[in-house]
């Protein structure tokens, strides 16, 4: 795992050396790229706020806990440990919230337990669907129902498969 950390510095060194050989003015060029960051953030910001307010309401109202309880039988029917239900429901909204939740689950049940492994696979094979849709489709007027539903379905599929693989592998 230690080698993974080498990736980033190597990537930058390789690119910058190549750019220098191609006579790119590094400082001017890098700075010009950075210029785009503020407009990008400004276009994303309103959508981000709406999604994160929604995520906070969802969690703090107790709605996520209620749903977790209500869905527990369905989850166990599909082979998903109900203990990770909350993680499954929170992940589409918020990366930081679900990361904290995963850490809690690992502390509570142990990283090598079946529940802990399922939680890790569920976390690693899914993405923050609502968050990404807010960022990628910022400012677009098109209906997002289809792509969002497909993405949620795919994530759910990987959840079921992940729990199954945890059991047999």
């Amino acid at each position: 795992m230690k080698y993974a950390a080498l990736l980033l510095p190597l990537l930058f060194i390789a690119l910058f050396v190549y750019a220098l050989i191609r006579k790119v003015r590094l400082y001017d060029c890098f700075t010009e790229g950075v210029k785009g960051a503020v407009p990008l953030i400004l276009s994303i910001f309103p959508y981000l706020v709406s999604v994160l307010i929604l995520s906070e309401l969802f969690e703090r109202s107790g709605l996520s806990a209620l749903l977790t309880q209500g869905l527990a039988p369905a989850f166990s029917f599909l082979g998903i440990p109900p203990e990770i239900g909350k993680l499954v429901l929170l992940k589409p909204f918020s990366g930081s919230g679900s990361t904290a939740l995963l850490a809690d689950l690992l502390a509570q049940y142990g990283a090598d337990s079946y529940i802990g492994r399922c939680a890790c696979v569920a976390f690693g094979s899914s993405e923050t669907v609502f968050f990404i849709s807010a960022v990628y489709f910022a400012g677009s007027k098109k209906s997002l129902l289809k792509p969002v539903v497909i993405a949620l379905f795919s994530n759910f599929l990987s959840l079921i498969l992940g729990c199954l693989f945890c059991k047999i592998m």
Partner: protein
């Protein structure tokens, strides 16, 4: 998204109304505050990566890397826009490598180009690929497992990759199947 927003918002508001009416506003404000914090974190990482991608573009390397991927990308996204396809390829590469924050700038730029050209299909495809987790090495999970005292933190790699692979393929297939014929 309008439907999803309305349903979840109203359901949560009603639960607040019944159980904890005083907690409603603080919850919304906490969301807003989180958004502000997240935006600053994102701004920092976009600065770094936009600088990186500009150098990649100016050095001509992005053009060279994308050229090999054009035939595949053109068919996957059904687009002839070389610039948008190059951005989409950068987005996917950054996703696979799991560079935190890096996929977003080229991904957003490619999506905007696809949408401007009226190619909703390509935008949907790129979004679904991003939203089904393409990461080859789930670094966050492995780090958390190591921190929690796991005896083999990387042990979840195989099931995660398999599950992700299947779900990404399923998502892409669904986008292709539900494409409106022009």
């Amino acid at each position: 998204m309008n439907v999803i927003f309305a349903v979840i918002f109203l359901a949560a508001a009603i639960v607040f109304l019944v159980h904890d009416p005083e907690g409603f506003l603080p919850a919304m404000l906490a969301g807003g505050q989180k958004a502000a914090t997240v935006c600053f974190a994102l701004l920092a990482s976009y600065c770094v990566w936009l600088g990186f991608f500009k150098v990649l573009e100016k050095s001509g390397l992005s053009e060279r890397l994308a050229r090999g991927l054009y035939p595949a990308a053109r068919r996957l996204f059904r687009s002839q826009d070389r610039q948008a396809l190059a951005l989409a390829c950068q987005n996917i590469a950054a996703n696979l490598l799991g560079l935190p924050g890096a996929p977003t700038p080229p991904g957003v730029a490619a999506t905007q180009k696809f949408l401007a050209a009226g190619n909703d299909y390509a935008a949907d495809m790129l979004f679904v690929l991003n939203a089904t987790s393409l990461q080859l090495l789930p670094t966050t999970v492995i780090a958390l497992r190591a921190a929690a005292g796991s005896s083999s933190p990387a042990d979840i790699l195989a099931p995660t990759l398999l599950a992700t692979l299947v779900s990404t393929l399923a998502g892409a297939a669904l986008v292709i199947l539900t494409r409106r014929r022009a």
